[in-house]
């Protein structure tokens, strides 16, 4: 066939007699088959049906196998086992990461909430927790880390919305927990602040109340106890030994005030991501071993915003925190990742709210040496486009 004649409109005239309209065969095409019997019809039907049944059955089986998720998945490593995936049965609220485990159901117990137990094989030690081992779990409240777990991926416990606390075996050489928050043993890195840590603190300090649907509620903002609630539950003091806020560490945490030590050097990627209540960041010069807030006096000298000495702010480190209203970049900062303060400014009643300017301690010339990622400044809608907020150079640190 010539390519140039592909769609030519040559008139076609076919003289088809009335009695051949259902049987007329066009040249080069198969003959029509209308209400005509097939040869070997029964045999063809059987072959067809069998083929279909086999194809469908085999493929269904494969598909079902693919979606079946074991509760625990492990990989064997040189030192022991790595927990690679935990898929909640829907009723597990406490997870021990120490030995290779499996679910065992009790046939005589009809209650689905309690008719299982987690069976551990104590001969197989879990030594590491892989990336996204727990991902978007909505049930786990407590994670216990065993003494042999020596390597936890920073993304191991991603978006565990119900997670209230970590407990770490005191003999673990690499990790520890303080007040339910996960740190490295030397307390230089804070690894994971549980998403629902405030629920744990609220329970501990006697603030927990429930509405008619059994959902926990916060004390009323105008109530007498609210200030105490903010101090004891919604305020977090990063211990003075901490030098690094780990990747994804505080994401979705329900914290209103955070106190950072002056020795802090690094805030990694998404370190303070989507903390919708976070309204104040303070830094302190004193010593603090625990994360509970007692009083500002106990923390020594306190000043607003990021601490002097901080040099690395990772990408999306503070993004989507619209309750923040002030940001001061000390001159020690040498790197700011892309979108570090993204969506922290917004329009309300035709005026800007949130982080409406970036206050930089350094001069404009000195700030040029800072390595910055794309769109690191907050941006707001401006004449149907987006505009970055201004940087105020040589800024003096604000007071509250």
């Amino acid at each position: 066939m010539s390519k140039k004649t592909n769609n030519t409109e040559e008139p076609v005239i076919l003289n088809i007699p009335d009695d051949e309209i259902w049987t007329y065969q066009v040249e080069g095409l198969a003959p029509p088959r209308i209400n005509k019997p097939y040869r070997h019809f029964t045999l063809k039907k059987i072959i067809f049906a069998l083929t279909i049944i086999v194809a469908v059955s085999v493929s269904c089986w494969f598909s079902v196998q693919t979606i079946q998720t074991d509760t625990f998945k492990y990989n064997s490593t040189e030192n022991g086992y790595e927990l690679t995936k935990f898929s909640n049965t829907g009723n597990i609220t406490v997870l021990d990461i120490d030995f290779v485990s499996d679910i065992e159901y009790e046939s005589d117990n009809p209650d689905v909430m309690s008719n299982f137990k987690i069976k551990k094989d104590t001969s197989k030690k879990v030594t590491s927790v892989g990336k996204y081992a727990l991902n978007c779990d909505e049930k786990i409240k407590v994670i216990t880390i065993g003494k042999d777990v020596t390597d936890i991926d920073p993304k191991a416990f991603y978006s565990c919305y119900a997670l209230q606390r970590f407990d770490v075996d005191e003999n673990n050489p690499n990790y520890c927990s303080v007040d339910g928050v996960l740190y490295t043993k030397d307390m230089k890195r804070i690894i994971c602040h549980p998403c629902d840590h405030d629920a744990f603190l609220a329970e501990q300090f006697g603030f927990t109340q429930y509405d008619e649907n059994g959902v926990p509620t916060e004390p009323d903002v105008n109530s007498k106890e609210y200030d105490r609630y903010v101090e004891q539950v919604l305020t977090f003091v990063v211990p003075s030994s901490v030098e690094t806020i780990g990747e994804l560490c505080f994401n979705y945490a329900n914290i209103k005030n955070v106190y950072l030590p002056e020795g802090l050097k690094t805030v990694e990627t998404l370190g303070f991501f989507k903390m919708t209540q976070l309204s104040s960041i303070y830094s302190y010069k004193g010593e603090a071993e625990v994360s509970r807030f007692e009083s500002e006096e106990a923390l020594g000298e306190v000043y607003v915003s990021l601490p002097d000495g901080l040099y690395f702010i990772g990408s999306d480190a503070f993004s989507y925190n619209q309750s923040l209203s002030y940001m001061y970049i000390p001159k020690s900062v040498t790197y700011i990742g892309h979108h570090a303060f993204w969506d922290t400014v917004y329009k309300q009643d035709n005026s800007l709210a949130g982080v409406t300017a970036i206050n930089a301690e350094a001069s404009a010339e000195a700030f040029e040496a800072v390595q910055t990622g794309n769109n690191w400044r907050p941006q707001y809608d401006y004449l149907l486009f987006k505009k970055s907020v201004d940087i105020i150079y040589n800024a003096k640190r604000g007071t509250e």
Binding site: C60, P110, Y158
Partner: protein, 577 residues
């Protein structure tokens, strides 16, 4: 110019000899298809998939749960498909006895479905049995949710099936096979669009309950269709091949401008909301208002667009029995080629919409910049599309489709490369992606037009072979390929889960996770596109053959109607061409 105006005036109401569509209908096509297409595109914002913003930001359902639900629905899907094909390909005109039996089955299904929603069937089983513990272990589900999801599919299938017979039979002779459903579905669809934004189902705290209730809500939403029916109708607007291509290339293309305007305005309005795409007001106000306005326009113009498939009167049409339908489509060589291509295309099933990810998570676009970029890229296809008649004359469909698959492969490979090697540099990576997407869009529209025409030709050829288009029985290929495609389609979701993608789309803010989530499925897709070139080497259905087929169809319609009238019978729904 003068001769053009004279031509338009002369044939404004009456088409030229050898043609079938008056120019007035060209104008009607612009408005009818424009509003219908834009409306159906607006509805794409409401789907029971993880990529829907309502699911993404409000329901937050685990990613793998959608695969679990599709597998739960699979067995009934096979059985109900048999009845569906049989009804549809007989255009709803069935022997009385058969019709009653089908109604009985559909009503039974509905009653069972309702009972599963009202009662918890999982309680009939031992809660510690392997069956129930297996169901409890499924991602995002438990035994109760599984039974209710299963029952929902019964309710949905029964309801849709019964409506299908009722409305098809009533409306098809008057409105034709492609647009009749708009008339019976448009009002309930508008109501469901409003309800889906306002019912606070996403606030249900337990994820398994949220899954089955959302599934029920979306199933009810899907009972009523508002697809791009009028454009489908225009594909059969004329038995003249050249006229089909002209309608496709000009009025239909111009009609898409409506969608372009909507796709610019909508994100701008949404960008003004406090939480932009994550704002529930998108689904409470923006989408319903836009959709309802477009639906009103659609219904106003729908009656003015006609379908012109040469066919005998519906009272005298060929009755398709089950096995004729099955074997009929298996004998269609060109349909087989298309289905093999679809099978290979399933390699990309389960992939996230990478363009959306690039826009939202790499560039963080919203408001007007987002609209402009989307408009710029979608505009890229317009100039070549206006040249479609030339390209379709100059090159064979085989050449066009092979070229299309190769450009897809190349484009996806370039985007994957840009994301992998310079993903950190948003400006550079972004520029490469936008340029590549621009060229991919440019090279897409002519093959899309060719693809549509190939499908219409396949339908015409099937009508020549079997006496009916058997568009529904062609689904039997899915029986062979569907299970394989769903299995293949699960590979990417499992891979994505490994890279951290689940119910929380925020994982895409993490650079290395985003890179893997985009790049790995893109590479799988590249392989698919290259393999998809192979079946097209066997396509040899040219225009000469197609013209001869059309002559046969016209002759059949003419003789059948003549015989019926001579016998004094009343006839309806025929078209002689």
């Amino acid at each position: 110019m003068r001769s053009l105006i004279s031509e338009l005036k002369t044939h404004w109401h009456q088409p030229a000899e050898g043609k079938y569509v008056p120019y007035k209908e060209y104008v009607d096509v612009v408005f009818a298809v424009g509003s219908n297409y834009a409306g159906s595109k607006v509805l794409e914002y409401i789907t029971f998939l993880s990529s829907c913003y309502l699911i993404m930001y409000h329901y937050k359902l685990p990613y793998l749960t959608f695969s679990v639900i599709s597998i739960l629905n699979m067995p009934l899907g096979y059985i109900s498909a048999l009845m569906w094909w049989f009804v549809c390909d007989n255009l709803g005109f069935l022997p009385k006895k058969t019709e009653r039996k089908l109604y009985a089955v559909y009503v039974g299904m509905m009653l069972f479905g309702i009972s599963t929603i009202l009662f918890d069937y999982s309680r009939l089983f031992d809660p510690s049995s392997p069956f129930i513990t297996y169901l409890n272990g499924l991602e995002g589900m438990n035994a109760t949710a599984c039974f209710k999801t299963f029952g929902t599919h019964f309710l949905y299938t029964g309801w849709v099936g019964a409506r299908n017979i009722f409305w098809r039979k009533k409306l098809l002779p008057k409105y034709g096979r492609y647009k009749y459903s708009l008339y019976c579905d448009v009002i309930p669809k508008c109501v469901m669009v409003i309800l889906i934004g306002w019912l606070p189902v996403y606030n249900i705290p337990d994820v398994a309950t949220r899954v089955w209730v959302a599934n029920l809500l979306f199933a009810t939403f899907n009972v009523f269709g508002f697809a791009n029916n009028l454009e489908t109708c225009t594909r059969s607007i004329s038995p003249n091949l050249q006229e089909r291509i002209l309608v496709r290339s000009y009025p239909v293309k111009i009609s898409h401008f409506f969608h372009t305007i909507v796709s610019i305005i909508l994100p701008v309005i949404i960008g003004m909301l406090r939480y932009e795409w994550a704002d529930i007001n998108v689904y409470r106000y923006v989408i319903p208002i836009t959709f309802i306005v477009l639906a009103i326009f659609t219904m106003f113009f729908a009656g003015r667009v006609k379908e012109r498939i040469p066919q005998p009167p519906v009272e005298k049409k060929v009755q398709i029995n089950f096995w004729d339908g099955m074997f009929g489509v298996l004998h269609n060589k060109y349909l087989l080629i298309n289905k093999i291509v679809e099978l290979i295309d399933s390699l990309g099933n389960g992939m996230l919409p990478f363009v959306t990810i690039i826009y939202f998570y790499t560039f963080r676009l919203s408001g007007l910049p987002y609209s402009l970029l989307v408009a710029l890229i979608s505009f890229a296809g317009t100039p070549p599309d206006l040249m479609s008649p030339y390209f379709l004359k100059r090159f064979s469909y085989k050449q066009i489709m092979i070229f299309y698959q190769v450009t897809r492969a190349l484009g996806n490979a370039l985007i994957a490369g840009a994301m992998w090697f310079c993903g950190d540099n948003i400006n550079l990576c972004g520029t490469i992606c936008v340029v590549v997407m621009f060229f991919m869009e440019m090279t897409k529209t002519v093959p899309t037009t060719a693809g549509h025409d190939m499908n219409v030709r396949i339908g015409d050829y099937q009508m020549y072979l079997s006496g009916e288009r058997l568009e529904n029985f062609s689904g039997v290929y899915g029986w062979f390929t569907g299970p394989v495609t769903s299995f293949v389609g699960l590979i990417i979701p499992v891979l994505l889960l490994r890279y951290g993608f689940n119910s929380n789309w925020d994982v895409l803010f993490i650079d290395d996770s985003r890179r893997n989530i985009i790049v790995i499925p893109l590479l799988v897709d590249v392989v698919g596109f290259l393999l998809m070139t192979i079946p097209y080497f066997f396509w040899d259905y040219d225009s000469k053959k197609q013209n001869m087929v059309m002559e046969v169809l016209k002759r059949r319609a003419e003789v059948t109607e003549k015989n019926a009238l001579e016998a004094g019978e009343t006839v309806s729904g025929s078209y002689k061409g």
